[in-house]
Subunit: 337 residues, 2 copies
């Protein structure tokens, strides 16, 4: 297996990307190909590890590319014109089977445009979408769409439910994943027009499509561990995702400051640290890696824009599992029927 | 001052309502009037405290009402037909100046219908809306609309921004409250149609209306303490609110279980408990009381449906402050201009 990593994309590129790759290489079996300015990547590795790339692992490689798609670039324009950018080179390698999965933390719009334009949609799927994994009680919660389609139709949400089901079955081994529709109440009549119509469509089609649709789900129940995935439009999904992120930050900051308030609380907190760290680990959505762009013909992973080296490491490890589980092949198969 | 409390509304009524009222009575200066079946309320007080109502406080009163609006009742139908329900009696007392604020944890739809039909909108406000207070870093975050208007227009969001400004100025003493528009990115071009149009309207009108509009705000930055209020439609706002609630539950449960995992972690956690409790307190949105229904002519407070006695206590205390600050009068004044 070959994992392709955009070394130049993300807020902390290329340092975090390179360090994450080096951290990950001994935890994966796959070959890992860094795409970016070779000279810079080699110099950074020398600087960080005082070693040559080849001395770190014979599974760590570079593919040179001279351009970078910046955060300010117009997505489709950038994909069409920056032919030698790390992102476009990565997508082309994936398309030509020179790699099995492409990971990038770069310009989200460009990543989605590239995945659709270069890799292409799976037949039968109208709108590919981002599926993110969040922590839930003793389990995890799949959220789809995390933000790629601001305006959705009921058919899109139905397909998100199908894709979530196939993905969770194959990657997490959940036989009948419970799929909820994100809403502001559990009754059928609740919500805006999109949600009401989507509810009816899901109710009607779920059995035929093998979806275990459990009805409307409110955010207050989403993390209970009883729901495996929630489907929603990209606007609401992105609000949901970023709200959990914002509140997560507040939790971390408040907990730390409560512990560090004064010398007494500092000392008193020491014996509790293993428990607190265990707690922090459960809550860390980062451990679940990046979001998957489901609905395109090959595995594409969107790493968090602000990924640090640890997050890149996790994302690479998760990407390997994603390929191993052949979720994309199974999705193509299911939608061919 | 007189506070009117619906003793029969909410998941834990009337027990939690009565206990919350008794807990609150010595922390407030106002008279507190419980509305509901007098016989039942008296019997409960006897049962819980082994005292007569009159022996608890001479500021604690009862107004008898024989009906109850149930959670399943059709809001407007219930308001029109259940004339002797605790909710309708409460609204009528508020209207006739027999009380200064009405609190209920009952059927949300009926509460909103009653507030609009019996109390009436403030002239100049198209859609009254629920304003909730959430915890934020070393401060609080006002969220409006929390869920009363599923479908909104840009003019509604502009008015939410105005109401938030007036409320925060008068109740929290924030001179120029920073108002953000909830969105999925900070750029002007981000979001769905409603958000894009609302952005333009807010940009255009803010100076004239005295709103300190700080632009688009993402959920990840909402709790940083730099934003005083976020405005959004009731669907997105309700998703936001319930997501924080759901994640809050997960945090509480995970932290507790991490501490209680085994006897060693239990003992080790004891010295850290003051710090952990301090943390839990910062995170507890309940301490901020219920949501305010802003835009109607009198103070109406929507207590959380699942309020327990502590939450009722807090909500009553907050309601007293709400009246003291005359935020509603100031809102009427501002919109009269």
């Amino acid at each position: 297996m070959k994992i392709i990593l955009d070394a130049m994309g993300g807020d902390n590129a290329p340092d975090a990307n390179i360090k994450g790759a080096v951290n990950a290489i001994n935890k994966i079996k796959a070959e890992l190909i860094l795409i970016g300015k070779e000279e810079i990547i080699r110099a950074k590795i020398k600087e960080f590890y005082n070693k040559e790339l080849e001395d770190i692992s014979d599974r760590l490689k570079i593919r040179n590319s001279t351009e970078i798609i910046e955060m300010e670039d117009q997505p489709t324009v950038a994909i069409k014109h920056k032919k030698d950018s790390s992102m476009v080179v990565g997508f082309n390698m994936l398309k030509q089977d020179e790699g099995d999965v492409f990971i990038s933390a770069g310009n989200s719009g460009a990543l989605l445009a590239g995945a659709t334009l270069i890799i292409g949609r799976i037949k039968g799927i109208d709108r590919p979408a981002l599926a993110g994994i969040l922590p839930a009680y003793k389990s995890q919660l799949l959220l789809m769409d995390c933000g790629s389609n601001t305006n959705c139709k009921p058919i899109n949400l139905l397909q998100f439910a199908q894709m979530s089901t196939i993905y969770l079955k194959n990657t997490f081994g959940i036989e009948k994943p419970a799929i909820g529709l994100l809403n502001i109440g559990t009754e059928e009549t609740k919500g805006n027009e999109l949600v009401k119509e989507s509810y009816q469509l899901l109710k009607e089609k779920s059995e035929e499509l093998g979806i275990n649709f459990v009805g409307n789900t409110e955010g207050r129940d989403a993390f209970s561990g009883k729901i495996d995935a929630i489907v929603t439009d990209g606007f609401t999904g992105n609000v949901f995702l970023k709200t959990t992120e914002g509140l997560g930050k507040l939790v971390k900051r408040s907990l730390k400051e409560s512990m560090m308030k004064n010398i007494i609380s500092k000392i008193a907190s020491i014996p509790a640290l293993p428990a607190i760290n265990r707690f922090a680990k459960t809550m860390d959505y980062k451990a679940y890696g990046g979001a998957l762009f489901l609905g395109v013909k090959k595995p594409v992973v969107k790493a968090h824009g602000s990924s640090d080296e640890t997050l890149f490491e996790y994302t690479i490890i998760q990407a390997e599992k994603f390929v191993e589980n052949k979720a994309v092949d199974k999705m193509i198969e299911a939608f061919n029927k």
